[in-house]
């Protein structure tokens, strides 16, 4: 039997469907590999071995009973610890939720279970999804399988590292400003942010509600599309869920895999070309990527999006504002930590002591920043102005998509950086999301696909598409993938 930890999700599903291997054998093989190797990587915060074996056994029983299996039945998946999993610890990598057992499943988790995927456990992340390196996890960082002294990206660093290290063939992340795509890029995996509203936020512990989007990580574009199709679709429990059919992403990925983009127009954003601070090696890999798109038959043209350079400041006003409001729910009353309740202190004192002890530095910084941006006297200058700039960025996208089918850029300005190199200066950390944030503000889908190496470390190409045209994005990504050698992290 071939080693299932080296296969793609669709290959694993095919082996299970034809009886070459049982779902329980697959789950056990992954659980063994996690036990042996995750000590180094620390992709997981919690392993649910019993739950995984039970889910796998159910798939094997269904197959034995002659039931038709879904396209990912029996395939293991790792889930970011920001998604609620019934009865399974969910912390958002924060001390304030240590020990919390959610009484319900997120919609994404419900759909993973209904599709017969096998949830291996919960992955590490920056606390409450705020960060680009997983260094802000309260439980210690995840290490990049390509170089254990470097960050795996963030905030979904654990989900990215799990796939890169072969500890899971698929994983779920969330993307608010680039938290799926940037870790995808720096770990050599495919990371996809669906259209905002295309995947449900129900059961996703909220950071910035107008931006938060769950999405897939995988080893290749087709696998990402298969997982996308499983988790996407309207959910009446999320009032911002789009009541439309899921775009035909799997079909588009298969079509793209034929390697023909003739007739498609792809835009390169002029303003990204002049961005300071992008590493020369990243730009070089990206330029070869653009050349590859031309060889596939695409017409590549330059487009101007003049307000993209204001996306980063707009994001760092909008998302902390929403975060300061969302995280008010952690008050030490209904769930999670409570500190200092000695019978003498007031509710307000206990609340302040609980939040001080339970939140890490980056979360506190963003709560204070958001409180400032929303405070009387500043709200028009900061939050209000950022919302207007958001409109202008949306207009840039709309105008660009009148000229082209999709936009491309590097995913992130730099390869995986060494631990500690950006934690001292929050502004330096925020630059990781320079190219990914515009799509979050606009809401359209965007994906990172491996695009060669720089200094031996993975680079990502980002493909951005119009809202609810996730299919266009997968087609371009799958075609581009045919021009690239697969990136496989060095074995340890």
């Amino acid at each position: 039997m071939s080693d299932v930890t080296k296969l793609s999700a669709s290959e694993i599903a095919a082996l299970i469907a034809d009886g070459s291997v049982s779902a329980v054998e697959v789950a056990d093989r992954y659980l063994d590999k996690i036990a042996a190797e995750d000590g180094d990587v620390h992709a997981f915060l919690h392993i649910d071995a019993d739950g995984a074996r039970a889910a796998a056994a159910a798939v094997d029983a269904a197959r034995a009973a002659g039931e038709e299996l879904g396209p990912l039945a029996g395939v293991p998946v790792a889930v970011k610890d920001v998604m609620a999993t019934k009865g399974v610890p969910t912390t958002a990598a924060s001390k304030i939720l240590e020990g919390w057992l959610p009484p319900y499943d997120a919609t994404v988790v419900e759909r993973l279970k209904a599709a017969g995927t096998v949830i291996l456990g919960k992955t590490n992340m920056d606390e409450f999804a705020m960060g680009s390196s997983t260094e802000y996890s309260a439980y210690g960082p995840t290490r990049n399988p390509w170089d254990l002294d470097r960050i795996p990206g963030g905030s979904s660093g654990g989900s990215a590292a799990a796939v890169a290290a072969g500890l899971a063939p698929l994983s779920i992340g969330t993307d608010t400003g680039g938290s799926i795509r940037q870790p995808g890029a720096v770990t050599g995996t495919v990371g996809s942010k669906p259209t905002y509203g295309g995947t449900s936020r129900y059961g996703l512990i909220a950071f910035s509600s107008s931006l938060d989007t769950p999405g897939p990580f995988a080893r290749n574009v087709l696998d990402a599309a298969l997982l996308h199709e499983v988790i996407a679709g309207h959910d009446r429990r999320d009032s911002t869920s789009i009541p439309q059919p899921v775009p035909p992403v799997v079909e588009a990925a298969r079509e793209g895999a034929r390697g023909d983009l003739s007739g498609m127009r792809i835009g390169v954003v002029r303003e990204f070309g002049t961005t300071e601070g992008a590493e020369p090696g990243v730009i070089a890999a990206y330029q070869s990527g653009v050349d590859a798109l031309v060889k596939l038959g695409a017409e590549v043209v330059e487009v101007s999006c003049p307000h993209f350079s204001y996306a980063l400041p707009a994001y760092y006003l909008i998302s902390p504002s929403e975060c300061s409001s969302n995280l008010a729910r952690f008050d030490g009353v209904r769930y999670g930590l409570r500190v200092g309740d000695d019978g003498q202190r007031s509710l307000e004192e206990v609340m302040a002591l609980t939040r001080e002890a339970g939140f890490g530095a980056e979360v506190k910084r963003r709560i204070i920043l958001g409180t400032y941006a929303l405070s009387s006297g500043y709200v028009d200058e900061y939050y209000g102005q950022a919302q207007k700039v958001r409109t202008l960025i949306n207009r840039d996208f709309t105008a660009a998509f009148e000229q082209v089918d999709a936009l491309v850029s590097p995913t992130t300005p730099f390869v995986a950086f060494p631990f500690g190199s950006r934690t001292g200066d929050p502004v330096q950390m925020y630059l990781a999301d320079l190219y990914t944030i515009p799509s979050n503000l606009y809401g359209g889908p965007a994906i990172s696909v491996p695009c060669g190496l720089s200094e031996g470390l993975p680079v990502g190409m980002q493909v951005m598409a119009p809202t609810m045209r996730d299919d266009v994005m997968y087609k371009v990504a799958a075609a581009f993938e045919t021009t690239q050698a697969a990136l496989v992290a060095p074995a340890r």
Partner: protein, 99 residues
């Protein structure tokens, strides 16, 4: 000139119910000043006549049928609480003075 003072950060922390330490105040004041300086250029954009966007999905008044459904069980919810008594959340003292 700094965009935000240490006293302002202390005031904001109080508003946000964060009992920050003196060390944190020193550190956050400098860091938040750096962040605010870097985002201040948002003011360069001439946007007076531009309507704000709060959300990328233009949906309003999303409704669903008003059908009763079972909610989460009381015990399941209270099991997650830091403290409960008599089937209720127990909270710290709310009134300032002894009754």
């Amino acid at each position: 000139m700094s965009a935000i003072s240490r006293d302002e950060v202390a005031h904001l922390a109080r508003l946000a119910r964060l009992a920050v330490t003196e060390d944190e105040l020193d550190r956050f004041a400098g860091q938040l000043d750096g962040i605010l300086q870097s985002v201040a250029r948002i003011g360069e954009v001439a946007a007076d006549d531009i309507p704000p966007t709060s959300h990328s999905v233009p949906l309003t008044n999303v409704l669903r049928a008003d059908e009763p459904e079972p909610s989460l069980g009381r015990d399941a919810v209270l099991a997650a609480a830091p403290d409960s008594a008599e089937d209720r959340f127990r909270v710290p003292r709310i009134l300032d003075e002894e009754e």
